[in-house]
Symmetry: C2
Subunit: 234 residues, 2 copies
């Protein structure tokens, strides 16, 4: 590692060149533009429109993204990206917490909107999720993002647990499902992102349920077994 400056703005390791910084800016600008247009006008938006609004040519747009819907992928992926990176870091240190706790804590951190980019991505994600019922191609991007994260999660979980491959696969799929459902549920409602109904709390609850065993499956619709009409779930 190179010597890290204290608290300056740009201190990425192996300082990216001007060109690369411009490219990153352009990509983010296209992503934001696409997200805004998809969220407000649905699937009717044209690739050319996204490109011109973002200030690039159509041909350039397709150099950054394979399809017009792909343009929003970087924003949708921020949460899971941070989640997996966080978890991967936990893999490295010898005092790693137990796997269930590590999964839950990392997920909670990834969905806690404190800093700028994460909060912004969460806002875009909510808007995009609400546009997805009317746009299958957009939903496909969301599922692709989670498919990728499911793949990336497996080596991390394999190192953390040492379990056999099928159990690792199931665990990765389950944890990933908890992430996805938490964000979707939050986006469907009106709760603020940092409240008790926010994605961080939802994912913590979901992660516990999916890794330790699903609650509610023993209940029967007619029998009063205490699980059914419980109003308090915090």
């Amino acid at each position: 590692m190179p010597t890290a400056p204290r608290t300056t703005a740009a201190h990425t390791p192996a300082r990216p060149s001007l060109t690369e910084r411009r490219k990153a800016e352009t990509q983010l600008e296209i992503a934001r533009t696409a997200a805004a247009l998809f969220a407000e006008r649905g699937p009717g938006v044209t690739a050319d429109e996204i490109a011109r609004t973002a200030g690039v040519a159509l041909r350039t747009f397709y150099r950054y993204f394979r399809t017009k819907e792909d343009a929003v992928a970087p924003l949708l992926a921020v949460g899971v990206r941070q989640w997996i990176d966080d978890l991967a870091e936990a893999t490295a240190r010898p005092d790693a917490p137990p796997t269930r706790a590590a999964l839950e804590q990392a997920a909670r951190r990834a969905l806690t909107p404190t800093d700028g980019p994460a909060e912004e991505a969460l806002r875009w994600t909510r808007g995009l999720l609400r546009a997805m019922p009317g746009d299958p191609a957009l939903r496909a991007v969301w599922h692709r993002v989670h498919h990728d994260s499911e793949e990336e999660l497996q080596p991390v979980l394999a190192r953390l647990t040492g379990a056999d491959p099928l159990d690792v696969r199931l665990a990765a799929a389950a944890a990933n499902t908890a992430m996805r459902v938490a964000v979707e549920e939050w986006a469907a409602g009106d709760a603020r992102a940092d409240g008790p109904r926010g994605p961080a709390e939802l994912v913590a609850r979901g992660m516990r349920a999916l890794t330790a065993g699903l609650p509610g499956l023993d209940g029967r619709p007619d029998g009063a077994d205490g699980r059914n009409a419980g109003p308090g779930n915090g």
Copy 2:
């Protein structure tokens, strides 16, 4: 229900007209053709080629399916379709088994290749899943099928369990994940469809793991806690 004939071939309730039967045949023919072409030549196949091979005009093809990849959806959906219908039937009867068992049994039945159509669909599904790494649009169809089944599963589970909505959603997502992973894992290997490594056995194991609690999450890669190198998993 109308009077059901004993063992004749066509005895669908409210006998579909000739036109509707033809349409169903055409749709299935297109689906099979598309599946074969995608499986053997990847994403390069053209919609016009699928249409002509199936014996219809391009315009007609797009009356049956919204996109060329959508053409394989009916085949990919056979398994989950049967699973959910089976489970929904269990909802109706008063002597319904406990939810975990019902989920597992229905899933096992849906993935046990006994009769004709189910076995055929399973073969096509395997071929298509193997083509998916090179064709994102094809994978999107697979995920869309499972997204739909996740939605359809919720009212069924709600009636079965009476749990609160979030738990129902999590349960539906988890069960659905078990189905998906089981089929994917089977398709990736060379095991026969009716053996101990077949999808029916895999889904049973996965469903138990996801509804009752994930195994392997307590293990640590360095510690020998009995979970790690267990060779026998039947």
